[in-house]
């Protein structure tokens, strides 16, 4: 099990061929109170860097990008009822969607936790 981060403030957790994707604690703190999340439905094909989900806060609506290509297994059903999960547990229960990874080599170039921390510190 290993976790990667993107410069668009998504995290991606790899377990076998399955990736779980969400936004980071830093991202939720910048967005403010989340009021709506739209996640992709199962079976959706996503490509690396393409829009995959939408997150809306009291400040702004933002796209969430797929950090890696694959086929969506499920969107987090809990976020429809309780989008605030993204604020309270962004990197655990507030995950956005899971997908079957198409090509693990696409993980090359993503940051690890230490790298992401340094990236955020530089912002």
């Amino acid at each position: 099990m290993s976790r990667y981060f993107t410069d668009e403030h998504e995290w991606i957790e790899i377990e076998g061929d399955t990736a779980t994707i969400g936004i980071t604690d830093y991202a939720q703190s910048q967005l403010g109170d989340i009021v709506f999340v739209e996640v992709p439905s199962a079976g959706t094909q996503v490509t690396k860097g393409a829009d995959a989900a939408v997150v809306e806060s009291v400040k702004a609506a933002s796209d969430v990008y797929a950090p890696i290509a694959g086929t969506v297994l499920e969107g987090n059903p809990a976020l429809e009822e309780d989008p605030a999960l993204v604020n309270t547990a962004p990197e655990t229960d507030g995950w956005f969607f899971k997908l079957t990874v198409a090509d693990k080599s696409e993980l090359d170039g993503l940051m690890d936790e230490a790298g992401y921390k340094a990236f955020v510190a530089g912002l």
């Binding site: 109170d33 709506f36 009291v58 400040k59 702004a60």
Partner: protein
């Protein structure tokens, strides 16, 4: 001058001008600051404000089984109750007639009373849109003359008057671009928008069936010409650029951008929302624009922001003119005619269709033309100059206390842009905006454009005097200093508004959109 309320004694002040709390009132009213219930809570559902004859219940029923089987539950208010309700609500509103309205990219300028006088002349106000054109020559002349002014001011050869708002105008322009590309058998897929674009730009392109791609900005806040040129290709239908842009800056490379887009076979849409800063000074036609909407409700002073409908005429280049929508007004030997499907014939067979059923926002045309004629060409030029001067005054007077990310990018145009860098931990742009309400101002545009952290976008327009600007700057400075110092009271502002800070998160997550009759106790 910058201290609040020092000019005279106020009942809620002690001798030093400090606020003192008064006793709670029985009604909840604070003198002339009146509490007001929802209209449903005022009138009982068993009362009525009108006196109708009793219905003849013995008459045969003709409702086909669709008879109402429950009370509608509408409140029954008398006329004075109704008038008072809305008058009381209007007193809790903020309006350009009450004070400076600094919303950036909105051009909240004064709406001259002369405009209103002309728009109310019975020959304009009482016209029916289906009246025969022999009886509406004056109105058609107004539409035509206004169109001629817009063409002259923009240096563009054609105009569509019918779009009814800025975004509606964008759609009109993009549909004309699409029609032109399809007519030459070159349907393309992609529309490019800068990162700082008004949100309506990408939305318009997507609505018209295009894929939208971002163009990055340079560190100085302008479109990155090199990145744009690198992205151009046979799949790019158009570029949509706002000029002056939403960072308040003039796009100096616009002509180069337009030339590059044209060389690649694409077309150039300019969002004219910020035209106020350049009207009479720059003709977008000279910059290579193919289509641009003009917000009459911004640059040409017709009421907006709850005060009136928008109006967004679109000017076109020679390349796009054949594809402009119907109807349009034409002048011939017999006078003015409204050219519609039945009369356009071969002269306009490539029109992409219609944006609206009728001519457009007639009430805004009369107002906008009044504004133009009362200012004249020289006056319009001065409008742009004064608007830019006022915005630069605000920028330079506040850049020592508020972070101004593009302060070194040259003079700003219609608006001054600030960020929240330097605020104490835990204090945000939202808190500053709420503090500004306590100072008696409608807050500026905030959190837009997205390229600046905690953005505050201030557009004073040419309406404001130096004294009015100085007072506003004083208020901004005072609240900004509190945000930098970490003043905890700012987190709970506003303190003096009819309502304290509203729970925007709860309102968005669990909106209550309909009034429900309380259950009987």
């Amino acid at each position: 001058m910058n201290a609040p309320n020092k000019s005279g004694w106020k009942p809620a002040m002690n001798a030093d001008g400090e606020s003192i709390g008064g006793p709670a009132t029985h009604t909840g009213n604070r003198a002339l600051m009146l509490e007001e219930k929802l209209i449903f809570e005022i009138g009982g559902t068993d009362t009525t404000g009108v006196d109708l004859p009793a219905p003849d219940l013995s008459a045969p029923r003709r409702m086909g089984g669709l008879d109402r089987d429950a009370r509608i539950g509408l409140p029954g208010l008398s006329e004075p109750e109704t008038v008072r309700h809305y008058t009381r609500l209007s007193r809790q509103n903020y309006a350009i007639d009450l004070g400076l309205f600094p919303l950036g990219s909105c051009t909240m300028k004064h709406n001259p009373r002369l405009n209103e006088k002309v728009a109310r002349m019975p020959g304009f106000a009482d016209l029916h849109p289906m009246a025969p054109s022999t009886t509406t020559q004056g109105a058609l002349a107004v539409i035509h003359e206004l169109g001629e002014w817009l063409k002259t001011l923009t240096g563009m050869p054609a105009v569509a008057m019918s779009p009814k708002a800025g975004a509606h105008g964008e759609l009109c322009g993009i549909l004309a671009i699409r029609a032109a590309l399809e007519a030459r058998g070159d349907a393309r897929k992609v529309v490019l928008c800068p990162e700082s674009a008004h949100g309506t730009n990408p939305a318009t392109a997507a609505f018209a069936g295009y894929e939208v791609e971002d163009i990055p900005a340079t560190p100085e806040g302008r479109v990155d010409l090199a990145a744009l040129e690198a992205r151009l290709g046979p799949d790019v239908a158009a570029v949509m650029i706002t000029n002056p842009n939403t960072c308040g800056l003039f796009e100096r490379d616009f002509r180069k951008i337009a030339d590059a887009v044209h060389a690649g076979g694409g077309l150039v849409y300019c969002d004219g929302a910020n035209f106020n800063a350049i009207v009479g000074r720059v003709r977008p036609g000279d910059l290579g624009v193919d289509a641009m909407h003009i917000n009459l409700h911004k640059t040409f002073s017709t009421p907006h922001g709850g005060g009136g409908p928008g109006s967004g005429p679109v000017v076109f280049s020679e390349a796009l003119a054949p594809f402009a929508p119907l109807p349009f007004v034409e002048k011939n030997d017999d006078g003015f005619v409204l050219v519609e499907e039945e009369t356009a014939g071969d002269r306009h067979s490539n029109s992409f269709g219609r944006m609206t059923a009728f001519h457009g926002q007639m009430g805004m045309f009369t107002r906008a033309l009044t504004y133009i004629l009362s200012h004249g060409a020289d006056g319009l030029k001065q409008v742009a100059e004064d608007a830019v001067l006022n915005a630069n005054y605000v920028l330079r007077k506040l850049e020592d206390v508020l972070h101004a990310p593009f302060a070194d990018s040259g003079p700003c145009m219609h608006e001054a842009l600030f960020g929240d860098k330097g605020f104490a931990e835990g204090l945000s742009t939202l808190d500053l905006a709420k503090g500004l309400i306590d100072e008696g101002y409608h807050p500026m545009t905030m959190y837009f454009p997205l390229v600046v952290h905690g953005a505050m976008l201030v557009e004073p327009t040419e309406t404001e005097s130096k004294a009015a600007l100085d007072q506003f700057i004083g208020a901004m400075r005072s609240v900004a200093e509190r945000a930098i110092a970490g003043d905890e009271t700012l987190k709970t502002a506003p303190h003096y508004a009819p309502r304290r800070r509203l729970d925007e998160t709860l309102a968005a997550r669990k909106p209550v959109l309909a009034w429900a009759e309380p259950a009987a106790e």
